[in-house]
Amino acid sequence: MEILNSILPELIRIVICAVCGAVIVFGNALVMGYAERKLAGHFMLRPGPMEVGFHGIIQLVVDGLKLMGKQLVVPAKADKPLFMLAPILAFAPVFIPLLVIPFSDKLQGFDLDVGLLLILAVASINVLAILIGGWGSNNKYSLFGAFRSVAQNVAYEIPMLISLLAIVFMTNTFSLREIAAAQSPVWFVILQPLAFLIYIVAMVAETNRAPFDLPEAESELTAGFHTEYSGMSFSLFVLGEYANMFIVCSIATVFFLGGDSGIPLPYFEYSGAIWFLAKVYALMFFLVWIRWTYPRTRFDQLMNFCWKYLIPFSLVNLLITVVMVKLI
């Protein structure tokens, strides 16, 4: 009994964290899946899903059920263990970063002093998942998608890291909560507009979304690395993609948009979380917006852009930041 008493609060905390993580991942996928289709529709002057439920609101649920009911087809010449592992590897790690994201000063799983590193470390697993998925399918299109994805993600990780590093220099910490708290008078988007822009671009590339959706460029590679996936294993990739979007947008919010800061709403303790989510979804809206506006870039141009513009600019930005931090 004594043991139970001592361990119970921590256990409950872990359970709650896990449940919240699951709720965020699946809830976010539902919301974003619906919002993306609806927004895409309205960007194109059409209504989007309208059939199932009021304005198609339960379309995503039905789609999810359909995907769950579908057969998992494994191609005959696929490398079966790799093929089955890839979607799990793409999906499972997305829970971990959610644990360290400070939704508000009271809502955070764990405040790790290496929170940023944790997120980046986990994000790098995603690349591996795409790679072995593309390889395991034993399909040429998938292989191309995997190749592109790796080159793209590895290249864009650099400007992303460097632009975040500028903020880390300003705050002297890797802890996300402290970074969010450090911008109480001015958000870092005002102090570091260049880093913010670079991060936004790198973020789009990291999540493999249009206009940088080369790994799944459907007009060239049919569906890229997930050409051969069906049913649940496909939906795991999609869930992973939306969760990754949520995570990178959260990082942007924490680093540049003041985290949970905002006008406190009356009588509500967790109003910070509301602000936080509002900012995250505003960024996600932006992601959706550019996806439905631009054509896709070409692969070498994508890399050129990274090496010719993003990395030099982020390095210059870092240098200026360091000098400023030292002087002030």
Binding site: I3, L82, A121, S124, I132, A146, F147
Partner: protein, 174 residues
């Protein structure tokens, strides 16, 4: 509080098994791709062991650098250098198995005996703690030269890699 220790202990076993499993997978699998996956799994296990050794920072770096960079680079090497049908045949040959096992067993036995025989004495007094701040201070002040050297090594490696990888290109393409 003892429960935590048990949980930690179970986790330790899990990481250990992960490390060994990955290792065996890496050296015994027929497909190179599986070998790389085994390496990744094993490195995860080692990252967990670092966690147990009190350094979450290094655990993160292990995943970030090894899984995120080294493994992926190796995978790229696998994909670039091989066509799928070449892979299964070329990678692995069991012709020296007995010899290899013997050598490994001898080596392991020697180490085992050495570890058993030696008496390790903990330092009387420890300065500092395991935090990143302390590591960072040490890295940038006390071991500054080594830090600079490693960056030079990395830079050289990158330049060398680029030169090597580009070198053969002209004669093949176009």
């Amino acid at each position: 509080m003892i429960v935590y220790k048990y949980i930690a202990e179970i986790l330790f076993y899990a990481f250990m098994i992960l490390t060994f499993m990955g290792g065996f997978m890496a050296v015994r699998s027929k497909m190179l791709m599986h070998a790389v996956l085994g390496l990744a799994v094993s490195l995860f296990g080692v990252a967990g062991l670092y966690f147990h050794l009190g350094s979450p920072f290094l655990a993160m770096m292990q995943i970030l650098i090894y899984v995120g960079a080294v493994c992926i680079m190796i995978v790229l090497g696998v994909m670039l250098g091989n066509t799928p049908d070449q892979l299964a045949v070329k990678n692995f040959s069991g012709r020296n198995t007995l010899l290899a096992l013997l050598a490994c067993a001898t080596g392991f036995f020697t180490l085992f005996v050495a570890i058993g025989q030696t008496k390790f004495v903990p330092a009387a007094e420890r300065i500092g703690d395991m935090s990143i701040r302390f590591v960072g201070e040490n890295l940038l002040f006390k071991y500054c030269l080594a830090f600079e050297l490693i960056s030079v090594v990395l830079l050289t490696a990158i330049i060398g890699a680029i030169i090597l990888a580009r070198g053969g290109r002209e004669e093949v393409a176009k």
